[in-house]
Amino acid sequence: MRNTIEWMVGGQQGEGVDSTGELFAKTLVRYGYSVSTYKQFMSRIKGGHTNYKIKATDERNYYSGDGIDILLCLDKETLTNHEDVLNANAVVIQEGKETKVETENTPEGKPFTVFTVPLKKIAKDLGNPMAKNMIALGISASLVKLPIDILHSFIEEIFAKKGEEVISSNKQAVLKGFELTNEHISNQINELKTPSEKDHLFISGNEATAFGSLMAGCRFLSAYPITPASEIMEWLSQELPKVGGTVMQVEDEIAGICFAVGASYSGVRAMTSTSGPGLSLKTEALGMAGISEVPIVIVNSQRGGPSTGLPTKHEQSDIQHMIYGTHGEIPRIVLSPATIEDAFYMAAESFNLAEVYQCPVLVALDLGLSMNKMTVPSFDTKRVKINRGKLLTQEEVKEFDETHFKRYRLTDDGISPRPLPGMEHGVHTTSSNEHDESGYISEDPENRINMMKKRLEKVRHAMVQEPFKVSGDMDTSDILFVGMGSTYGMIQESIKQLNEEGVVNASHIHLQQLYPLPIDELDPLLQGKRIVTVENNYNGQLLQLLKQYAPIHDRASSITQYDGNPFTVKSIVKQVKELISWQH
C-alpha cells in the first residue's frame, strides 16, 4: 500500500486538461488525501501544451512533486516533455489504435509501463465521444484503487444539468477504465492507504486571498483583468454581492487602485488585485494612498516579467518594486504569504494593518501560489480579529467638536483618528499634497518634517502575526535557506532530502513580511550561518534585501530560477550541492 501518488495529465490547451486534472485532484481530496497541484499553460487560448500536475499524500504536503507515477497523455508532447521525470514503475496512459501494454525505460533507465488504449473509440462506442478523458480517469483511479463512487458522485454533480444520459455514459466510461486496468495491468495496482478523516479545503491561493478578504470585511474590489490575478476578481464578483458588497471591473489598473482608494476613503474595506504590469501602472496612485494615509490593500499576483514578459509563467521578481516603487517615500507594508492558508490569514490581516496604520498594504502572491489548488486545513476564524484601528464612530467624531476636523492630527504613535465623509462634525480634507494637520496644503519646512516623521515612523514596528516561518535547528545548522512565497514546500522537501543525505545541516526561514523587514527578530537567526536565498528571479532580490539590513555579504548567496517554472526539489538539491562543493 502506498501513501503518496504523483499524477499528471498533459495535452493541448482547450482539450479539457484542466478539468480532467481538477476532477482527479478533487477525487483524491474527497478520498481524504492532501493534494498539491501545479498547472502549466501558455499565453494563448487554444493549442499549445498544457499540463496539470498532482501530488497526493496522506499527510500534509506543500509541493506538487518532482516525479510522476501516472501520466495521462492527451497529446504526443506530454510523454516527450515528461518522460525524464517519471518515477520507477510509472504508468503512462496514452491514446492508440488498440489496447496494449508495453514496458519502456526512461533516459535514466527507470522502467515504466505504457498503457495504450483506444480511448476515443471506446468513448464513441459508449455513445459519448466527450467521455474519453473519463476512461483515462477511471484507469488512473483504479491504478491506486480509489473507490469508484467518488468519481461517480462527481459525475452526477458536474453533469446534473446535462441529463441522465450524459451522466450514465460518463459513469460507464469510468467503470470501463476500472475494467481496463483490471484486465490488462493488474500487476501495477498499488492501493492507496486509507487516510484519517480531516476537515480540509481544496482551494487556490487566489481563492484563499479573496475568501480571507471577504471574511475580514472587505466589501469592495476594483480591478482590471490580468493573469494570474483575475481569479480574485472573478471569485469576489460572484460572492461579494451576497454580502452587500461589489466588484468593479474598471477601465484600467490606475482606475483600479483609484476606485479602491475612493471607496476606502468613504469607509469601506477596499482592495485592488493585479499582476506586474498593473502594479507598475498603480505606482503613482500608490504614493497617493501613502501620503493621504488612506488604507488600501493591493494584491500583486506575480508572474514572469519584465513588461508583458511571460504572462502565464511563475516568477517572484516584483519584490523590489513592491518595497521601493513610487517616487518619494511613503509608509507601506509588504506581505508575502508562504502557503495557501497563510494567504487567507494574511489577506485578512492586511485589512487590519491597512486601517491600523492607515497606509497601503501590498500582498505578494506568485503564480504558483495564486493559481494552484492545495488541500489545507479548514481556516480558523478566530485567528485574525477584525481591527479597524482609529476609525471613529459618529459619536466619537462629535466629541472632538471641531469645525474642520484635523484629519492629520499629530499624535504620539503617528496615527490620526479618522472620521468618515458624511459624518456630522467630521468634515475634513484628505490630500496628496504635503499638508498640515487640517489637510490643507502646507509648504512650511517644520510642518513637513513633522509629517514625514509621522508617516514614515508609524509603520516602523508594524508586524504581522507570523512575519516569518522558522524551521530546522537554528543553533546547530550551518546553512540557512531563506525564501518567500510558493517555494515553501520545495525548500522544506529539499532540506529534508539534504539532511537525510547528510549533505548539510540546514534550517529555513520563509519570510512573510518583506517590509518593514523584521530585522530585529531576524538578526539573531542570521548570525554565523551560511545564508542561501532560494528565489524565482534573476537578481536575487531577497538576497539584496537582506544585505541591505545585515552585513552578511561574505557568507550569503542565492539560488535562483527564472525560466518561468517553479523550482523542483531536484534542482534545489543539485544547486546546493554545487554551491557547497564550490566552497570547498
Binding site: 479545503l201 481563492e207 458588497g245 461589489t246 476606502s264 469607509g267 496612485a285 458624511g422 480634507t429
Partner: protein
C-alpha cells in the same frame, strides 16, 4: 441651514480675477440653496490651480492626483451611496491625462457630478497648451502655434452615454449656479464643463472672448443627435443644459442591497465562513 461662511475652507491662492473663484462660489451657493450641509458632500479634485477647489470649499475634500479625480470620486460614491459626490478639476486634468476615465465614467453613469474648470490652458504649470487650447494657440511649448485640435468634451460625453451634459461660463454666475444645482440633483453622472478664464496665462480665451461668442440654450435638446449637432454648429461655444435623460444609475442597476460600511472590530462572522467554505469541500 448652511451659510456661505460654513462653506469656506482654506484661503484661496488663485490669481485675482481667475475664473475659478466664480466656480467655487457657484458650488458653494448650490450646496446652500439646495439645503445641504457641508458634511453631506465630498469634493474630489485633481491637480492644477483648479484642483485646489476641494480645499477652498469646506465640505469633505480629497485633493487627489493629476487626472484621477474621476475614478477616485466614483469609488467614493460606491463606498457610500448616501454621499453627494462632486469631482472637479482642470481641463488638462480632466481632458488631457484624465480623458479616458472621463469617458468611462460617462458610460458607467454612477450618480455624481463632474465639474470641469476649463481655462483652455495648463495654469499651475505656467501656461502650456492644454488639450482644450485652440488650434494655433501660442504657448511656451508651441511657439509656432498649437498644431493639434482641441478635444470636444461635451460631444464626447454626449456620444458616450452621459445622462446629463451641460456647459457654463464663469462670467455668468447665475446660469452657472442653476446648472450646477441641477447637475447635483441629477441622478446619474452629470458632466458640467465651465469656461473659466485664466487671467494670467491665457490672453485669448478671456471673459470678453466668451461674452462675445457664447450662445445660450435654455432647454436641453431632446435627442443626443440634436445636442451633438448644436454643439458642433456653434463650435462648442454654447451654454446651458445640453442633454438630460432619466435612467437608472449604476448603483440602482446593480440591484445590490449595499452593506459596505457595517464592518466592525471584533471576530469574523463564523456563520458566513461556513456558508462560503462549502464550495471548497
Amino acid at each position: 441651514m448652511a451659510t456661505l461662511k460654513d462653506l469656506r475652507g482654506d484661503q484661496p491662492t488663485w490669481c485675482p480675477g481667475c475664473g475659478h473663484f466664480s466656480i467655487m462660489a457657484g458650488i458653494q451657493k448650490s450646496i446652500i440653496q439646495l439645503g445641504y450641509e457641508p458634511h453631506d458632500f465630498a469634493i474630489i479634485s485633481g491637480i492644477g490651480c483648479s484642483g485646489k477647489v476641494s480645499e477652498y470649499v469646506r465640505t469633505n475634500g480629497f485633493h487627489t492626483i493629476h487626472g484621477r479625480s474621476v475614478p477616485v470620486a466614483q469609488g467614493v460614491k460606491m463606498g457610500n451611496p448616501d454621499l453627494k459626490v462632486i469631482a472637479s478639476g482642470g481641463d488638462g486634468d480632466g481632458y488631457g491625462i484624465g480623458l479616458g476615465h472621463f469617458v468611462h465614467a460617462a458610460r458607467r453613469n454612477i450618480d455624481m457630478s463632474y465639474i470641469v474648470m476649463d481655462n483652455n490652458i495648463y495654469g499651475l504649470t505656467k501656461g502650456q497648451t492644454s488639450p482644450r487650447s485652440e488650434h494655433g494657440f501660442v504657448t511656451k511649448t508651441t511657439k509656432g502655434g498649437n498644431k493639434e485640435y482641441p478635444v470636444d468634451p461635451v460631444s464626447t460625453s454626449i456620444a458616450n452615454g452621459a445622462t446629463f451634459v451641460a456647459q457654463a461660463f464663469a462670467g455668468d454666475i447665475k446660469q452657472m449656479t442653476e446648472i450646477i444645482e441641477k447637475a447635483i440633483e441629477h441622478k446619474g453622472f452629470s458632466h458640467v464643463n465651465i469656461y473659466s478664464p485664466c487671467v494670467t496665462f491665457n490672453k485669448i480665451n478671456t471673459y470678453e472672448f466668451y461674452k462675445e461668442r457664447l450662445t445660450k440654450f435654455d432647454e436641453p435638446f431632446d435627442t443626443r443627435e440634436e445636442a451633438l449637432s448644436a454643439v458642433r454648429a456653434h463650435d462648442g461655444l454654447v451654454t446651458g443644459i445640453l442633454y438630460n435623460e432619466k435612467r437608472d444609475d449604476y448603483q440602482e442597476k446593480l440591484g445590490i442591497d449595499f452593506d459596505m460600511q457595517s464592518c466592525v472590530s471584533g471576530d469574523m462572522d463564523e456563520e458566513l465562513f461556513h456558508k462560503f467554505k462549502k464550495q471548497f469541500q
